[in-house]
Symmetry: C2
Subunit: 452 residues, 2 copies
């Protein structure tokens, strides 16, 4: 959603809370024309990417869309019209009109692609409304919100899937396949993170989304309108899931393993300020702001199985993109940087890296083998096809998704926990056990058997 | 030195302590034939490598050697003889015979290349004896020993150089050169570590140094005789200096900056045990041992200038060697893994890595330009030539070396501090200020001006 905060008009439902939300028909799959009826909350750049993938499917009707930026609704309607599909119901009169979308009995499942501060609020409402819920990353901003996701899921019995697309990246799924086939032996250590120069995303001129200007918030548009505020006020890893999600699936977090504790440190934060001075001059009002977020934030996580995971957030300095994955076990190691691998006794030369590509090809995940051609072009190198596929297939059967409310909570908890740790000189923080002990009996999700 | 502990015979000096050490002629440069007279304590594999470099120089006499393994003394004598140089005095009758070497007025400077537990003890004695002291890494094992190095240096006025050869690696010096020329802008974040599969070093068959057997300690030889014990009993980064030394020179630790705090986490430790079981069988007595050292130990260090440094110790799992360097600032980033660099506005394509090689060539350090040809073949790709060069030139002038007692202490303190942090669930530990406040006025060492 674009500029939600610009809308001040509110409907009657605003402020009355969920007690007055329309009555809810629990359970999904009302099977409108034998298809899953999906509603989209947020059809900004991310939401329309999902829309695009939904329009390519023959098992989905997009029956409702909601964005407070009507231009975005128009773009979405145009896409739907060009795909020769039925015009959906449109919402977005005000900040809380999404609740009217949720009240629609026609909607089976909802995909939420809005600014971060709306994620948990909307997901909670959606679960209460009985809609199978897909939620964009990060899922939650605070520890209370992490619990909201879990508790609402448990209370309502409605499923939540965190739509972490990187879990479906081709190399990640090949490595997951290798992990399952014991290629790395017993797992010991991981690295990951979000290392992406976002200065040109966090700041713009209020007209162009990327590349020009040093405005944000009220004067910015697109992501700068809402995302930058988190860099201004929070010294935390505010975006951990692209890195830690894939690692969590490999080491079975919440399914026989769990995050136990975290310790975080932040470097100085100079990148955004420098960018403002360089592109807007030292007299620009934004050059006077003190951005609290450290440029490079490092977190060390310990799991109950004794692995360590190093998570990096590095978004304010000039650097090429890398999620910096490393998977290391008793038999070998894979690193995405340098595209290299070493498996004891199985690589060409002792103590020398092999190129990873032939290994990734050999262990290409069955899902990618099956759907790879279809996935290509779906966005982000095919990942987006798979994450939507998993969501739709799970929602159609109304079964637990591969990446669920407990995953959303545990991964997102890195944000508030890293913030406290940084503020306390790296003091380690305990993760809550969002499964309330159930991680000891929950089984790893079988992505191959279940087909998504 | 090889098997020091095998010698039980002690001379009278043993146990009497330093009070009875021979009287000391403070000051060096007695200028025996206008050359620096060097004594070597420890002529094992590392010591004879230094010897080899010393024998190639025309400004050094090797006047004394000391090893309790007489076979190592014989090898050293043979090297000296083949170089057609005067036979040195030989010591090594027992563990404390090195003190007799230190008592020799003929010796101006001493290089200590012995097992870790002897490093600080010998360096302290050497400084008290007034010998310009070169000490192999790591310099100290405990916090008390870190202070011993500093306090003895201050009390005696004798200089200590920590012989950290990686500070002189060609790529490291080129990057140091880039740092000094502000190519990376304001420094923000660093990574480094010792990532080296040492299982075949820590375990052997008591006959071959590397590659066979699963013995160590009394039944092992070479490094396995003394090094492995540290993996058995200490869950700490026991070998931090190859990584952190070069980074410390780049960010001026103890010279306008200092290490402030550290937080460390250890993964499970399974690598050594697995290696023993695989190569010695599960019934081998060593398969019953519990090695305390985690396989991957990660430390986060915060500096007073607000940089963060991630230091890794990863020596018990199958993996190719890498010190994992990364240098990141406001203008760009260099990573040794992948041999890549990004400098904003100066690389070919925005958001794309450049190959680092042309940059490293362009900023090749003046010292490497001058001595590169000579250095090649000196050991470890030329680094060893330079570290010895710096030591000898500093000792000849009796001036402070580039890497001094404060550096030795600060870098080595990572071992005891990481140990306490790990034992306390990652609780951050404060570094002592070994300079007693002087870091605020100490100037960065000018490696170019001073010529080494």
């Amino acid at each position: 959603m674009g500029s939600r905060r610009n809308f001040v008009k509110k409907t009657a439902i605003v402020g009355t809370g969920l007690a007055l939300a329309p009555s809810i028909a629990l359970g999904t799959n009302t099977n409108y024309n034998n298809k899953l009826n999906v509603g989209l909350i947020g059809v900004g750049l991310r939401g329309t990417n999902h829309l695009n993938n939904l329009l390519l499917r023959d098992d989905v009707n997009v029956v409702a869309i909601c964005d407070i930026d009507q231009r975005r609704n128009d773009i979405a309607l145009d896409m739907i019209s060009k795909a020769e599909q039925t015009k959906p119901k449109v919402f977005g009169e005000n900040d809380y009109d999404y609740r009217n979308l949720l009240a629609s009995k026609k909607v089976d499942a909802v995909i939420i692609s809005t600014p971060w501060l709306w994620h948990t609020r909307m997901a909670k409402d959606s679960m209460i409304a009985g809609k199978y819920t897909g939620l964009e990353v990060s899922a939650a901003n605070t520890m209370e919100e992490c619990w909201d996701l879990v508790n609402t899921h448990e209370k309502t019995g409605t499923h939540l899937m965190i739509l972490e697309n990187v879990c479906y990246r081709r190399d990640i799924m090949a490595v997951l396949n290798m992990v399952r086939q014991d290629v790395f032996g017993e797992l010991v250590h991981f690295r990951c993170g979000y290392q992406h120069d976002l200065r040109f995303v966090k700041l713009n001129d209020g007209k162009t989304a990327y590349g020009k200007g040093v405005e944000f918030g009220e004067k910015g548009i697109s992501e700068s309108a809402w995302r930058t505020q988190h860099s201004l006020l929070r010294n935390a890893d505010v975006y951990p899931t692209h890195g830690v999600g894939p690692i969590a699936t490999m080491c079975d977090i919440n399914r026989g393993n769990r995050f136990v504790s975290i310790s975080s440190m932040a470097s100085k934060g100079i990148g955004i300020h420098n960018y403002i001075v360089k592109n807007g001059g030292k007299d620009h009002p934004n050059a006077q702001l003190k951005f609290k977020q450290g440029d490079v934030i490092t977190s060390m996580i310990e799991t109950s199985n004794g692995e360590t995971i190093i998570v990096t957030h590095d978004c304010n300095l000039p650097r090429p993109y890398s999620l910096g994955f490393r998977v290391q076990g008793s038999e070998g190691i894979w690193e995405v940087d340098g595209n290299r691998i070493y498996i004891e006794g199985k690589v060409e030369k002792s103590h020398r890296w092999d190129e990873a590509t032939p290994w990734l090809d050999k262990y290409d995940h069955p899902l990618w083998k099956k759907y790879g051609v279809k996935a290509t072009g779906a966005g982000h190198g095919g990942m987006d096809f798979f994450v939507i596929q998993a969501f739709i297939e799970s929602a159609k059967k109304n079964i637990a998704p591969p990446l669920d409310a407990y995953d959303a909570a545990a991964w997102s908890a890195i944000t508030p926990l890293s913030e406290v740790s940084i503020a306390n000189n790296g003091e380690s923080q305990d993760f809550p056990d969002f499964t309330r002990g159930n991680w000891v009996k929950r089984k790893p999700y079988n992505w191959i058997k279940d087909g998504y």
